[in-house]
């Protein structure tokens, strides 16, 4: 990063010009043309962008692999596809978060690009208050998602039955999630 250069570069000429300026011969000004105070952290953006694209390509590859097996009617007979799919379970959220980091870090030092700098858009709330609320959110999210992950893993530990049970006794119908109809065996609201 100190040397401000990319090792092992693969270069496609002209494509960047077309995407960013909609002109085959448009000029894309490099990061080094801006003063250092107006640049984002290029190492974070460099890696988060590649993680995002890599995750996307991995998902495409698994999709293509499963399609190929499907065409050959071997979709359920290939344990390595199933293992890979389980291993790739979290990859969607990894791609989303990497993409999000790319956007947010890449926009720095601006909140609204070119108009409002992040330092100018901070609220007058004291740092201690922001820190306390952040700590509270971290604690609450770990507690809630910890419990959620525990219940999900327990649910995943049970093999799926031929006919999934409906609501357990006493459990409420909801406007979202479970469908009330077959469980009730009566007209809604009866």
């Amino acid at each position: 990063m100190e040397q401000e250069r990319t090792r092992y570069a693969v270069e496609v000429p002209k494509l960047g010009s077309l995407i960013l300026t909609h002109d085959w011969n448009g000029t894309v000004r490099g990061l080094k043309e801006w003063p250092a105070a107006d640049r984002p952290n290029s190492a974070i953006v460099f890696w988060s962008f590649r993680v995002m694209v890599g995750a996307g390509l991995a998902m495409l590859a698994v999709g293509a692999w499963s399609l190929a097996l499907r065409v050959r009617r071997r979709l359920y007979a290939q344990p390595w596809l199933l293992r890979t799919s389980v291993a790739l379970g979290p990859i969607g959220i990894i791609a989303v978060i990497a993409g999000w980091i790319t956007t947010e870090v890449g926009r720095q030092p601006y909140t609204v690009y070119g108009l409002l700098r992040t330092a100018e858009s901070a609220s007058p709330i004291e740092a201690a208050a922001v820190g306390a609320s952040l700590a509270a959110f971290v604690v609450v999210y770990f507690a809630v998602f910890g419990a959620g992950a525990f219940y999900m893993l327990r649910l995943m530990g049970k093999p799926p039955g031929a006919s999934e049970p409906g609501l357990s006794p006493g459990e409420p119908m909801r406007a979202s999630g479970l469908m009330p109809g077959p469980v009730m065996g009566k007209e809604p609201g009866a």
């Binding site: 609220s123 007058p124 709330i125 004291e126 201690a128 208050a129 609320s133 509270a136 959110f137 609450v140 809630v144 419990a147 959620g148 219940y151 327990r154 409906g166 609501l167 357990s168 006794p169 006493g170 459990e171 409420p172 119908m173 909801r174 406007a175 979202s176 009330p180 469980v183 009730m184 009566k186 809604p188 609201g189 009866a190």
Partner: protein, 336 residues
């Protein structure tokens, strides 16, 4: 072409969203507040089932109110949110716990008591924080230029604690009268008792806050006690007295729906009272709704979306309440 005051239309829409939030989430938060006073597990299931199909829809209005304030009155949002930072964060964390309790409570037998606690404590905390936020807004927020100029404990005063406690009793009243309407048998009988107590405390709190508010600012005092304005505002306390009569008469005669409607009317009247005190300020008494409004092009663009969205929300909300109408029944096989 008639000139439309878009900022005023938006203020009306957001006032409606906030009122809808208060009365709708009010009764399901109230059910959570009453949870500790009904230790029987079957009755707790019954209480929770009475709000399970609608509580998350009820909270839509909080998102609409908060998101609308951000988009339409950005200056008011930028001043109010830092001023109410701590209570707003407490409100959100309380809602997180009571929200997941609806799902997780049914996933465990050993841990059920924990989610019962999360439901009750989360509901009470969220309500108390809302009441404190309201009190802090009413008592006044120091503003300098276009920003909040106070400290981050300014929201904590005797007045805001009174409004916080008052709202806990007010939502508990909504919850109790909702349970009267939706349940039967022993749960309903206990709900009648809860409604008597919470109704009496709520009315006392309405009286206390109404008498206290005019002393907080000359603007409020002028609104309520100057001649001839006192004539225009007098119907509000008179209607509060009528609603109180309908409430207690309904409780005494064991009506099932009128106590709930009377409690809703009390909240609507308190909200009207607040609007009389506030208008045209969004941050009393420093920023008016016209000063806080986004540019007219933004207001018009957002209004086009709201003109489509709000009728859709109203329609599916009404449909949801219709589908889940009637009494909750106890017993095996879940909710019949």
């Amino acid at each position: 072409v008639m000139h439309l005051d878009l900022a005023l239309i938006w203020a009306g829409l957001l006032a409606f969203a906030v009122l809808a939030y208060v009365v709708l989430d009010g009764f399901d938060l109230g059910v959570g507040i009453l949870f500790p006073f009904l230790p029987d597990e079957k009755q707790r299931d019954e209480m929770m089932n009475s709000v399970a199909p609608v509580w998350d829809g009820n909270e839509t209005w909080l998102v609409l109110g908060g998101g609308g304030l951000f988009a339409v009155f950005p200056l008011a949002y930028a001043i109010i949110m830092p001023a109410l930072y701590a209570p707003v964060i407490a409100l959100l964390l309380g809602l997180v716990f009571r929200g997941v309790a609806f799902e997780f409570r049914w996933k465990t037998r050993r841990g059920k008591f924990l989610w019962d606690f999360a439901f009750a404590a989360g509901s009470t905390l969220a309500t108390f924080a809302q009441g404190i936020a309201l009190g802090a807004l009413v008592q006044g927020i120091p503003v300098s230029g276009r920003a909040y100029a106070g400290g981050w404990w300014d929201w904590l005063t005797p007045f805001s604690i009174v409004t916080g406690v008052a709202l806990v009793f007010g939502y508990a009243l909504l919850g109790a009268t909702w349970l009267i309407y939706k349940t039967q048998g022993p749960t309903q009988q206990q709900a009648y008792r809860f409604a008597h107590v919470t109704g009496a405390v709520t009315l006392a709190a309405i009286g206390l806050v109404s008498l206290w508010t005019p002393f907080l600012s000359d603007v409020f005092r002028e609104r309520w006690f100057s001649w001839p304005r006192i004539l225009y505002v007098a119907p509000v306390p008179a209607l509060v007295a009528c609603a109180a009569y309908v409430l207690f008469n309904g409780l005494r005669q064991r009506h099932e729906l009128s106590p709930f409607l009377a409690s809703l009317a009390l909240f609507v009247l308190c909200f009207v009272g607040l609007m009389i005190s506030f208008f045209p300020y969004l941050v009393p008494t420093s920023v008016t709704l016209w000063q806080a409004a986004a540019p007219p092009s933004s207001l018009a663009f957002l209004l086009a979306g709201a003109a489509f969205l709000i009728p859709v929300i109203l329609a599916y909300t009404a449909y949801s309440y219709w589908v889940f109408r009637g009494k909750i029944e106890l017993g095996g096989g879940g909710y019949h």
